[in-house]
Point group: C2
C-alpha cells in the first residue's frame, strides 16, 4: 500500500541530497503540504545566501506564506528530511501548522557534523551560563513595547 506521508518525506530527503550535490548549502530539505498538495518546498541556503536562518523548514515556511498571502499556515503539514532544530521548531510553532514529519533525528545531525543536538542541550542551562550567554538589563523599561501593544487599537495579533 502506498503511504502518502512516506512519499512526501522521501521527496524532502531527495531535495536534501540534491542540495548537497549541487553545492547550494547543507543537507536539508523540506515541504509544506496542504490538503494533500505540496504548496512550497525549501532547501538549506545558509552558505549560498549568507543567511544563517535559511534552514530548509524556514525557507519552505516563508515560501508557503508568500504563496498563500498569509502569516500562518493553518491546516498545513511540514515534511522535513531532519528533525527541526530549535530555530525551525520555533518557526513551526509561529506558523501554526498542524503537525510535522521527519526522517533523520538530531543525533543523526550530530553525526553529520551539525549542532542541532548541542543547541537543544543549551536550552536546559541557565541563560547566563550558556556558550552564548544572555544578560537581562532594563527589566522595567522592557515592558514599554508591550504596554504600547496592549493599548493599540489597530494591532494585528498573531
Amino acid at each position: 500500500m502506498v503511504n502518502q506521508r512516506e512519499i512526501f518525506l522521501r521527496q524532502a530527503i531527495d531535495l536534501a541530497v540534491d542540495n548537497v550535490r549541487r553545492g547550494l548549502g547543507g543537507p536539508f530539505g523540506a515541504l509544506v503540504v496542504k490538503g494533500g498538495e505540496v504548496i512550497a518546498t525549501g532547501t538549506n541556503q545558509v552558505t549560498g545566501s549568507n543567511d544563517p536562518t535559511a534552514h530548509a523548514e524556514v525557507v519552505a515556511i516563508r515560501a508557503a506564506c508568500q504563496k498563500i498571502g498569509l502569516f500562518q499556515l493553518d491546516g498545513c503539514e511540514i515534511y522535513t528530511s531532519c528533525e527541526p532544530c530549535p530555530m525551525c521548531l520555533g518557526a513551526i510553532y509561529w506558523a501554526r501548522v498542524k503537525a510535522f514529519y521527519f526522517a533523520a533525528n538530531k543525533d543523526d545531525a550530530a553525526r553529520g557534523q551539525f549542532d542541532d543536538s548541542f543547541i537543544y542541550s543549551e536550552l536546559n542551562k541557565a541563560i547566563e551560563g550558556r556558550t552564548i550567554p544572555g544578560y537581562r538589563l532594563l527589566a522595567e523599561e522592557g515592558f514599554r513595547p508591550f504596554d504600547e501593544w496592549l493599548k493599540s487599537q489597530s494591532k494585528v495579533p498573531y
Copy 2:
C-alpha cells in the same frame, strides 16, 4: 556613568515601541552590534510581510549578514527588547554571536499575549505529545543527505 549596553538596549526598546505605533508588526526590536557600532537593526515584521519567521532578531541577523557578506556574525552582540523565543535563540546560535542582551523576559511576553513561554514549555514534552506533534518516519533513509554531505569534497561547513 554612561552604560553603553543600556544605551543600545534602550534603542532596541524604542524600535519596538515605534514598530507598534506605526502598525508595522509586533512589539519587538533588535540591534546587531560589532566593535561598539550598530551594524544592523530589525523590527518584528510578521504581519506586515506575511512571514512568521520575521521576528526582530531574525530580521536583524539577516540584515547584518547581508551587510557584511558572511553567514556568521563572529564577535557580534545582539540587543533585543525581549528575551529571544526558541526560534530566535536558535538563530542566535547559528549566527554564532558572542552574547545577547534583553530587557523584557518571556513572562512579560506572555503578559503581552505572545506565545514565547508556551513554546519553551513545549520543548520539554515528548515530540509526539506536543500541541504540534512531530512524527518520525523513514529513519534509515533519513541519513542519506548526511552521507552525501560527509563524502562531499566541495561542501562549505557551517
